[in-house]
Symmetry: C2
Subunit: 196 residues, 2 copies
């Protein structure tokens, strides 16, 4: 503990792990890793919101509200931008990064996929700068859409962390880049004042 606050800094552990078959175990493992860096890691596990007696839409909304409330309690976000169902980050995680960025909170992010977005989107036959459907392939040497990489840089001067090479195993159990983000979060948050 430091003079900056009586509690550990809280980080919101955003990412598509909530959809993973081992979601709960991943949440516990990520929170345990955060603790190694002196951080309290909060994991938005959908199952924490009971859907009994709710319509599917009401249940989804209750989870949304619980996640928003959790973000509002956190001092920073550590967002997993590993590609999900395609070459891009999960849009729920991207939403959360924007939500925290607008609040002026530190925005850390990482991906298990090394390299730039442009390395992951195959070009079409006619034009190397466009994909097979004709959509431009962003080529700013960034890991994903420039709004995500830009937010991380403008918040803290950092980049989206990534390992030097892809792991052969499940990317969501590859904690190398997460570890780098947590170290950075701990350093940034150490001297910041914290709310209750």
């Amino acid at each position: 503990m430091t003079g900056a606050g009586a509690r550990r800094p809280r980080v919101y552990l955003a990412g598509p792990e909530v959809f993973h078959p081992q979601a709960a175990a991943l949440g516990r493992a990520k929170a345990a890793l955060a603790a190694e860096f002196g951080l309290e890691g909060l994991f938005p596990l959908d199952e924490a919101v009971c859907g009994d007696g709710l319509t599917p839409g009401q249940h989804g909304l209750a989870i949304y509200r619980a996640d928003i409330a959790m973000m509002d309690r956190c001092d920073a976000i550590v967002a997993n931008l590993t590609p999900f169902r395609g070459p891009h980050a999960d849009p729920g995680t991207a939403f959360e990064l924007g939500y925290m960025r607008a609040q002026g909170k530190p925005c850390l992010a990482y991906s298990a996929a090394p390299g730039a977005l442009a390395d992951r989107v195959a070009p079409g036959a006619d034009d190397p700068t466009r994909d097979a459907e004709g959509y431009a392939i962003e080529d700013f040497a960034m890991a994903d859409n420039l709004m995500l990489a830009g937010a991380v840089f403008d918040a803290d001067g950092g980049a989206i962390e990534a390992p030097p090479s892809a792991s052969g195993d499940d990317p969501f159990w590859d904690f190398r880049a997460l570890r780098a983000s947590l170290a950075r979060a701990a350093a940034i948050l150490a001297d910041r004042p914290r709310g209750p």
Copy 2:
């Protein structure tokens, strides 16, 4: 003009059209449609930021900052969540929805794809609630990830607008749902105070 302000309400026309082969024409058409509803539509066209003398990373960051500044000048967001390179919305657009939501601004959204996310993600062979890679398929009768649909509902009580059936043509030129979102934005913004 109303007593609420001397200028028209400004809406940020977010969406992956910035990557479309007809990006500039789409931006003009969307802004023209916004004007029909008494709104000033701002379109985040990347090309407005000159990259001369910048590294790719610096250029991407300059576009990010220009888009942030444009959002900060807007009274609301009208986000195109049409699936992009997969079953989900573009993560840049999702980021922008979160950014505006955190500011308490009205969040309108639409998609050219009718139906729920669960209708677009194919289940794997073993479990109808999970995709082929084992990731849970959100089934909350929402058009995409619950953070996106939840934000739109909590901001304005609305849903992600969609047409009754898919168009056979390019989805980005299908303005049916956009029209519904603009009408809703105009109604919500009519009596709100506006900044300079």
